[in-house]
């Protein structure tokens, strides 16, 4: 490592920490004010209270919305990760003509504005005569989650040596059992990462839900509805704080598993 290029740069270090602060500060205001006794958003905070959280636990529509979001999230996570495992294996292990365009096509939802897919699926469902419900929301979420599942799983497949699978085949296992007894355990951290990431994406997703929700609301839709009423602000703050906490923990674990697990394996392989 050449020292004259990598000299510590105090200016840039300060910038980095300020950047991180600005990135997180707005979001941390939400939990901060959720403990505020006053319903007005004003510094300094008057008195500490847990009232808003307690009040929240009595709100039946919120619990319904939460349960809906959890169901949609779990189903989206399991299906997109399952499809993602097969797709990632195919992409990393097999010679597939037209692989580049196919992969780019499947990654489209990462780039195209969400509203386009949402209204397109809305029209599709309408033409098929399928009424809007949590099922249509789940379908919309799958379109968004599958690319993320594949993108999370591909590095995992690239990170482990295909000769392990070949060894298993040489020792007499067929493809199916090699998959379950060698491939799946090896990519397990990636599978967990993908499950948690896709669950969080679905749990937090708003645009698809906005267009595809029927009568049963998901949690972000519930919050959207509450934003119209200023007097309900403290409750929204409390609910949002819980969602932010869950999302942070899930995504942190997911990214950690996806990236760190990989690094450890590579170190192990190199040693």
């Amino acid at each position: 490592m050449s020292s004259y290029i990598n000299k510590p740069n105090p200016g840039l270090t300060v910038y980095a920490w300020v950047f991180i602060f600005v990135l997180y500060a707005p979001m941390l205001l939400i939990p901060l004010f959720s403990f505020n006794e006053s319903i007005y958003l004003i510094f300094p905070i008057e008195a500490f209270t847990l009232n808003w959280y307690l009040e929240l636990s009595d709100t039946a529509p919120m619990w319904d919305a939460l349960w809906n979001s959890v169901r949609v999230g779990l189903i989206s996570a399991v299906i997109s990760t399952a499809l993602g495992v097969f797709a990632a294996k195919a992409i990393t292990r097999y010679r597939i003509p037209g692989k580049g365009p196919i992969v780019s096509f499947m990654m489209l939802p990462l780039v195209v504005p969400g509203i386009i897919f949402a209204v397109a699926i809305l029209i599709f469902m309408n033409r098929l005569g399928i009424p809007l419900s949590l099922v249509t929301v789940t379908l919309g979420h799958l379109v968004i989650c599958i690319p993320f599942a594949i993108a999370t799983l591909i590095p995992r497949f690239e990170g482990f040596d295909p000769s392990l699978e070949e060894a298993s085949a040489d020792l007499g296992e067929n493809g199916w059992w090699t998959f379950w007894r060698v491939t799946v355990p090896m990519v397990m951290p990636g599978i967990f990462a993908s499950l948690m990431l896709t669950f969080t994406i679905s749990f937090d997703e708003f645009i698809m839900a906005f267009f595809l929700t029927g009568t049963d609301m998901t949690l972000p839709m519930y919050i959207w509805g509450q934003l119209r009423f200023p007097q309900r602000l403290p409750g929204v703050l409390a609910l949002s704080s819980i969602i932010i906490l869950i999302s942070f923990v899930m995504v942190f674990l997911s990214l950690w598993l996806a990236k760190f697990g990989l690094q450890d394996d590579q170190k192990g392989a190199g040693a």
């Binding site: 490592m1 950047f19 797709a87 597939i96 969400g114 029209i123 296992e173 059992w177 994406i201 972000p220």
Partner: protein, 315 residues
């Protein structure tokens, strides 16, 4: 004990495969022989779903843009009326242009703020690099709605800035320009997408061969000259990728303008949403969605060509 378990699992593992070959003998042998076919069959579930979830709806969207509304149903005769409206009524063009400007501004500002951050992690962080990357991208994965909401808390009419300023007696009336303005939309978009812009820039910086930088220094370039002549040009692909990743999705955003924009900050996404909501004119909404896609595509193409041109000038 352990041996018997292994024997059992082996027995269990061979038995279904024998059955499988017997029942689906032809297909199985076909799959065995052709690697390409096996690859495709593994890919198929995801690919078929994505095709059904993207191509088919998109085809119907295009079809519907040529229809006209008729009461609660649609008149399915081919018509260019929607496109004519989109071209002739100034509100549509104005909103598309404004959306492109707002997103363009947000993209430019985001990339400018994120570049030094990515540079820092790529060149100055040696330990815990992964932790830094996770720390920077983490907010991106949390609810978009709540990130926008957070800014409403800060900039809002009864928000943090206004309440605190009037609490201190500095202002009599709440500052209205904070919320419901294009500035508010640009600030919120910049903050919401910052986490996403860092990664592509970081990757392109990380890829740069360090010996090139040493060579530049050895040949007498100072830090700034070296940066502008070597590092920046080599990281342009990452900057380009980051710009696209922010610019294209944000043009269609309707949450941020709805919560932060007010009438002046309304974007094309809001109008599309309106057509599918209260205005209940789905064909017009479809047309606007397609017009938006085409404009974004054209704008992105111009951005791409400009970078290519710049790259050639530098090289």
């Amino acid at each position: 004990m352990a041996d018997t378990t292994i024997a059992q699992t082996q027995a269990a593992s061979t038995k279904p495969s024998v059955d499988l070959i017997k029942t689906t003998g032809f297909l199985a042998s076909l799959l065995q022989r052709y690697e390409i076919l096996r690859g495709y069959s593994l890919l198929a579930p995801a690919l078929v779903f994505m095709a059904l979830g993207i191509l088919v709806p998109f085809g119907i969207l295009i079809t519907m843009s040529f229809w006209t509304p008729a009461g609660f149903e649609f008149n399915t005769d081919f018509s260019l009326k929607n496109y004519q409206d989109a071209a002739e009524r100034p509100i549509y063009g104005a909103l598309v242009t404004r959306s492109l400007w707002i997103s363009g501004a947000a993209t430019l500002i985001t990339v400018m703020f994120c570049y030094p951050m990515a540079y820092y992690v790529a060149f100055y962080v040696h330990r815990n690099k992964m932790l830094w990357l996770i720390l920077m991208t983490l907010p991106f994965w949390t609810s978009y709605l709540l990130r926008v909401f957070a800014w409403k808390i800060i900039l809002g009419y009864d928000g943090l800035i206004n309440s605190s300023l009037s609490g201190m007696g500095l202002i009599e009336q709440p500052l209205e320009f904070l919320l419901y303005s294009q500035t508010a939309v640009v600030i919120t978009l910049t903050h919401a997408w910052a986490a996403f812009a860092i990664l592509p820039i970081y990757v392109s910086l990380e890829k740069i061969d360090r010996s090139l930088l040493e060579a530049a220094t050895d040949l007498g370039d100072g830090p700034w000259t070296r940066f502008f002549r070597v590092t920046l040009p080599l990281s342009l692909p990452g900057v380009m990728a980051a710009s696209m990743l922010i610019f294209i999705p944000t043009v269609g955003d309707f949450i941020t303008p709805a919560l932060m924009g007010g009438p002046d900050g309304m974007m094309i996404g809001n109008l599309i949403q309106l057509q599918f909501g209260r205005a209940n004119n789905w064909p017009m909404g479809s047309t606007l969605a397609i017009v938006m896609m085409l404009s974004v595509g054209a704008a992105a193409l111009v951005m791409y060509l400009m970078t290519e041109f710049l790259k050639r000038r530098v090289a």
